[in-house]
């Protein structure tokens, strides 16, 4: 069989006796790879030192990648449903690893625009395609536990940085020489590693045959909705209510995640150093990853609406409590509050495909999910801006650093209340 034939949807259909539990590893291979994006910051300082690029300039590479993630997921979602997950995963692998190679060339030649074009644009397209490609397949394989299945895959996106960060640091140390800090070679190596790992997902993924049904009971909380096309879905209020919910949930979480290290050091000045703050960031990453699996699995039992109601109500409560917790001086309580918040941030990402499936059916859930991810791109800009600028404004107005984040926390709590109301207004979609 030729490779183009192998990638076709018709050759991806599972044979009788195929275990559906082989599909989550295929999805994880993709998501653990593209989750590397969250670890891009390990390159910030080395890139800044070896080139004439400021940290804020380098920050545009990650932002561009997230914007192109949302755009490509929205644009290519319908194509993905037509050609099947295998071809989409293959194109994702080509774009994501290609982004590393073009980026490596940009770093080697000291051309920032080439790095932006490579990792930001090409890699961002790979991110978007890779993010949505296994999701609708998993929803089809696990109609009885859609939350758990998509949570398992999307957990990989949260965990990808945990592999990429130490791996990148080791590779840079390995390639470092008196004339180079090894970033370009690290980029090229990561391009090879991720291409091979993603191809494992390409070869492993299968679609269920149309007649296939899982043995056992179908989900007790979410009977299947009639199938709605992506074009029809975006014309419904339900889609836009979910868009608002995802946007506010991500805005609240992403702003905190980006500033976590500085935030804990400034809140507990003299008690928390750089190393402990790095530990705090690591702990939040674990909470983010674990929350993706735990909350989305729980949503199969308590329902999607109750899960999101918990995110928004508990999240708003915790954000409003943080200024008091900070003043109380309890580091443990501060860490616990943020760990719960970040678990719900991850849970929000992981539970949304199952919510979409409940409302719009499984036919084009990947395409609808892709369009919904534009909310992530929006939040990717809103969150950091809200946290960073409010902090700078408050410090410029004489507020002590330890209290500079208080206003932001109340703003985040208000945002989550908007999400709470949006969630209450969600009703089943029309066919």
């Amino acid at each position: 069989m030729r490779l183009p034939d192998f990638l076709d949807r018709q050759y991806s259909i599972a044979s009788p006796g195929f275990s559906r539990w082989r599909v989550p590893p295929a999805a994880l291979a993709i998501h653990l790879s593209i989750g590397q994006a969250y670890a891009f910051s390990v390159f910030n300082l080395p890139l800044s030192k070896s080139n004439d690029w400021s940290l804020s300039t380098i920050g545009w590479v990650f932002s561009t990648a997230i914007v192109f993630l949302g755009l490509s997921a929205a644009l290519f979602g319908t194509w993905l449903e037509r050609v099947g997950p295998r071809k989409a995963m293959f194109v994702s692998a080509l774009c994501f690893s290609g982004g590393f190679f073009v980026g490596a060339l940009g770093i080697y030649l000291h051309l920032f625009w080439l790095l932006l074009l490579g990792y930001g644009v090409l890699g961002g397209i790979g991110l978007g395609l890779g993010y949505i490609s296994p999701v609708s397949t998993l929803v089809k394989w696990f109609p009885d536990r859609p939350g758990m299945a998509t949570g398992l895959a999307i957990m990989g996106f949260g965990g990808g940085a945990m592999i990429a960060s130490p791996l990148s640091v080791r590779l840079m140390a390995h390639y470092a020489s008196p004339t180079s800090n090894g970033v370009a070679a690290t980029f090229a190596t990561l391009g090879v590693i991720y291409f091979v790992f993603m191809m494992f997902g390409v070869f492993t993924v299968r679609l269920p045959s149309p007649e296939w049904k899982p043995a056992g009971v179908i989900s007790r909380t979410s009977p299947l909705a009639p199938d709605v096309t992506a074009d029809a879905a975006i014309k419904t209020p339900q889609f836009w209510l979910l868009w608002v919910m995802l946007c506010v949930n991500v805005t609240a979480g992403i702003g905190v995640l980006g500033q976590a290290s500085a935030m804990i050091q400034e809140t507990f000045t003299g008690r928390i150093g750089v190393e402990a703050a790095a530990g705090f960031v690591g702990l939040l990453s674990l909470a983010n990853m674990g929350g993706r699996f735990l909350w989305s699995s729980l949503s199969d039992y308590i329902g999607r609406r109750a899960t999101y109601a918990t995110f928004f109500a508990l999240g708003a409560l915790l954000y409003s409590t943080i200024p008091t917790v900070g003043r109380s001086g309890s580091v443990a309580l501060f860490v616990l509050c943020y760990a719960i918040i970040l678990s719900m941030y991850g849970g929000g990402f992981a539970t949304i495909p199952a919510y979409l499936r409940d409302l719009f059916g499984t036919m084009q859930v990947g395409a609808i999910h892709g369009r919904l991810l534009t909310a992530w791109s929006t939040a990717g800009v809103l969150g950091p801006v809200l946290v960073n600028y409010t902090r700078e404004y408050r410090i410029a107005n004489g507020v002590p650093k330890a209290e500079a984040y208080n206003l932001t926390m109340y703003a985040m709590a208000s945002l989550l209340l908007i999400g709470f109301v949006a969630n209450l207004r969600v009703r089943r979609a029309v066919s």
């Binding site: 082989r22 590893p25 653990l32 790992f197 494992f200 928390i272 402990a276 674990l286």
Partner: protein
């Protein structure tokens, strides 16, 4: 291929698949856990 052999092959493929993604994931989680211990020192 008999039904029994088919089932055995499926099981082997399933175990291998989870090992391929599980090993790097566990390595990454361990690295992060070790790093986060600094917070409790």
């Amino acid at each position: 291929m008999t039904e029994r052999e088919h089932a055995r092959n499926q099981f082997t493929a399933l175990v291998v698949s989870w090992i391929v993604v599980g090993v790097p994931a566990v390595w990454g989680i361990t690295q992060t856990l070790v790093k986060s211990l600094a917070l409790f020192k």
